[in-house]
């Protein structure tokens, strides 16, 4: 579904992602873990087309993701196959929750307003926020904002959902409600790639866990194997600190 070939991303002299290759198949739930600054968020942003790698390629359904292309229609078509959930939610503050959810379906997919609102209402109910449709984001708690952000991405019917530390900016008591929504998505068969510090979630839900340090993929395995039998000394060291 998605494949990365030898992707390298640099910020000045810092190599954030170093020659990383990765495949995501339909139905997989991949967790990227690693110490901060290990390049996991940058890797995820390369998949989403938010960062332009210096070298290497990203393929979406076999098609090269080319950020420099003149064919912006094609780029938009590729982008909306992926839903992206940000650490800081990035809801549109000047729009109500419902407007946040219906903007892209109406403007990008060309849905009519009634159908888009119908769909948005269903998704809001699914994340447990049916009563917040007319609220502005500023009136929501962090956990509610993140659930709205997830619903906003789902409104575009993505084939895959990318999560960039979705619970890191939340107060501890709100982490659970967001993880529950993500678990529900996983059980419904959504393909997911997420950067997370929630090891419990990775262990319970992931089909594969990838460990990165210094921009390199050092180990990838099933969660059971990776957490029970870490091979790489960096991973052993990391797990001894976070578990």
């Amino acid at each position: 579904m998605i494949s990365l070939k030898n992707v390298t991303k640099q910020f000045g002299s810092l190599t954030a992602v170093d020659n990383a290759s990765l495949k995501v198949e339909k139905g997989e739930i991949i967790c990227l873990i690693g110490p901060s600054g290990s390049g996991k968020s940058t890797l995820l942003r390369c998949i989403a087309g938010l960062e332009r790698p210096e070298s290497g390629e990203v393929y979406i359904d076999g098609e090269l993701l080319d950020l420099g292309t003149k064919d912006t229609k094609k780029l938009e078509r590729q982008r909306i196959k992926m839903g992206f959930v940000f650490q800081h939610f990035n809801l549109f503050p000047h729009m109500t929750v419902l407007e946040n959810l219906t903007l892209a379906p109406i403007e990008v997919l060309g849905m009519d307003k009634a159908a888009a609102e119908q769909r948005a209402a269903e998704l809001l109910a699914r994340v447990g926020l049916a009563d917040k449709r007319d609220a502005y984001p500023a009136k929501l708690s962090g956990g509610q904002k993140q659930r709205v952000a997830i619903a906003r991405s789902l409104c575009m019917d993505p084939e895959i959902m990318l999560f960039d530390e979705p619970t890191s900016a939340l107060d501890p008591e709100m982490v659970g409600e967001v993880l529950d929504v993500m678990k529900e998505l996983a059980q419904a068969g959504m393909t997911m790639v997420l950067v997370t510090h929630e090891m419990g979630f990775a262990r319970e839900v992931a089909t594969k866990v990838i460990f990165l340090a210094d921009g390199k993929i050092l180990e990838e395995n099933s969660p059971a194997e990776l957490f029970q039998n870490p091979q790489n000394p960096r991973l052993q060291d990391f797990l001894s600190k976070v578990l």
């Binding site: 938010l50 940000f86 939610f89 990035n90 549109f92 892209a104 403007e107 990008v108």
Partner: protein, 233 residues
Amino acid sequence: MNFLENLSATWAKFVTPVNVTFMLKAACISVGIAVAALFFGTILGVLGAAGRISRNKVIRGLASVYVEVIRGTPMMLQILFFYLGVPSIVRAVTGSPWNPSVYLIGVVAMSINSGAYSTELIRSAIQAVDQGQWEASETLGLSYGKMMRFIILPQAFKRIIPPLVSEFITLIKDSSLLSTIGVVELLQSAKTLGANYYSYVTPLLMASVVYLTLTLTISRFSRKLEERMALSD
């Protein structure tokens, strides 16, 4: 004491219906020119800002040159350039004389001047919109135009209003420079009255009162507007 008595005597002499009407009409000219310059300047500012953040190097360069040249030279010089320079350039190019009204010249010169300041103001307001808003729009597949229209500009707009109001106040004050090319605006009306009576103190004080009434009213209005916008944050 003598001076104060003198002042009140001249005050009574100046503050007649005819003189006051004359001055208020001139004040309307000042405000009218400022409104026109703000309007056209804002249009130029939107275009300039679009140029300044354009991906095209040439357009970006042209917009920068516009901003730097206008902001780096005195407005007085720009007004004189449009009053003295441009008509003779037009004559040299077309071969026929061109004598536009000084009011037109005033509005054009001040619009172009204001446009340069508005360009920077609008550009910085656009770029101050959180990076995450651009990224969220991108991942939702919004095209550049739709992202600007639905996400970025509505948020930038809030930040643009307060400095645009102070730009308006600046324009009202700076329109006094047009008195030098013969536009009968507020300051020019005071100078005319002064010349009629061979006494300038009172008419200049009268003009100050009118300027202050205008500027204080506008800045008060601006504060109210900011308070209201802060509420919706």
